[in-house]
């Protein structure tokens, strides 16, 4: 059975534009969002110059996932309203949608469900920027996309192992890659200059006690990931619900009714068209 140490591939993964398996759209998006001092104008210009991309981004922003149905009509308006980082994240989201449709369809529903749950919980807790938490939910398993694309055989082995041995996909990843998708997601989100909060969520959504910068946001996405699986939405690599970290769960102070609300909103939003 194939096993590699993914940590020795970090440079290769960070140099994502050189990976032959990565589609052109993602390469172009990667090269713009990694810019050190990306301005509002630059990003808006980049998206607006590609009408297909612009319409996908606006479609996602106006979808039930973000809770602004039908209200945002231009990319610059979106950036003003949601901030540069959220639009960067949504831009990435639309391009990973394309990939997930091809390589692991259930991962898109998993990611969307997680984005919705994360936003609703962030709103309930009165966080100032629920859309940022939603983007963290949308992108939290981004590392899986790269692993599947570039190391398909090892990833297939991981999925099979998880199901057969009854272990979580991240445990199976440790067997086949020595590290998990959470680390891969962290490397990329650092490279793409995402805010520290998002990097924390990427790195620690399966080990939320280790989150230092954004323990609350990490706890939200950690629990959202579990709730989506509990409801049986999508497929994230294994068919099991992982146990919640009790400290993180207590941090959220959610009542039974709150959790029911999140389930209902997740379901309603996913019933609407989610093909971006």
């Amino acid at each position: 059975m194939a096993s590699i140490d993914i940590r020795t591939h970090r440079n290769k993964i960070e140099n994502i534009s050189a990976l032959p398996t990565v589609p052109g759209t993602l390469k172009r998006i990667s090269s713009i969002i990694e810019k050190p001092r990306l301005t509002l104008e630059e990003l808006s210009h980049f998206v607006s110059n590609d009408p297909a991309l612009a319409s996908r981004v606006l479609k996602m922003i106006n979808s039930a996932v973000y809770g602004f149905p039908g209200r945002i009509s231009s990319v610059s308006h979106a950036i003003m309203l949601l901030g540069l980082n959220v639009v960067k994240g949504i831009l990435l989201g639309t391009s990973i949608f394309e990939i997930m449709q091809k390589v692991m369809k259930g991962l898109w529903d998993h990611s969307l469900g997680c984005a919705i749950a994360s936003r609703v919980i962030a709103e309930k807790l009165g966080l100032k920027y629920p859309e940022e938490v939603s983007v963290a939910g949308l992108l939290h398993d981004l590392g899986k996309v790269i692993l599947i694309l570039e190391y398909q055989e090892n990833y297939d082995d991981s999925i099979r192992d998880a199901t057969e041995k009854g272990i979580a996909i991240s445990e199976a990843e440790k067997i086949h890659f020595q590290e998990t998708h959470a680390a891969v997601g962290m490397w990329l989100s650092q490279k793409w200059r995402f805010p520290a909060n998002l990097i924390d969520v990427m790195a620690f959504h399966h080990s939320p006690a280790a989150a230092k910068v954004a323990p609350l946001e990490t706890a939200i996405v950690h629990f959202s990931d579990i709730l989506v699986r509990a409801r049986g939405i999508g497929f994230a690599g294994d068919p099991f619900v992982p146990a919640v970290n009790p400290v993180s769960f207590e941090m959220l102070r959610l009542s039974d009714g709150d959790i029911r609300d999140v389930l209902a909103e997740m379901e309603d939003s996913l019933e609407q068209p989610t093909d971006f």
Binding site: G70, S73, L227, F240, V241, A243, I259, D268
Partner: protein, 100 residues
């Protein structure tokens, strides 16, 4: 709350979500009870369906759905909070099948 195709709308149904035009204007608020007149207007518009109150139609039987839930939770049920979470999800699923 199911989404109903516009040719299946009947007077007396209540909107569970506002009806929003392409331009983002709210045309009918949630909770609006549909009349013949509203249904005619809605059928003139380019919408593919309307959300109304009531249990959604489910893709699988309740028994199947609950059996899958048991399988997903099998190894974590005894962990802290997981029994509670399972109960909430089970109640939620049962309500989808119209048992309140």
């Amino acid at each position: 709350m199911p989404k109903i195709p516009i040719d299946k709308l009947e007077p007396g149904m209540k909107l569970s979500k506002p009806l929003v035009s392409r331009g983002g204007m709210v045309l009918l608020g949630d909770g609006t009870e549909l009349t013949e007149k509203w249904i005619d207007r809605i059928q003139d518009m380019e919408v593919d369906g309307i959300y109304v109150d009531g249990p959604s139609e489910q893709k699988e039987s309740k028994e199947e759905s609950l059996a899958k839930l048991d399988a997903r939770f099998l190894s974590v049920e005894k962990e802290p909070y997981m029994g509670r979470l399972k109960r909430i999800v089970r109640d939620y699923i049962e309500a989808l099948y119209g048992e309140h």
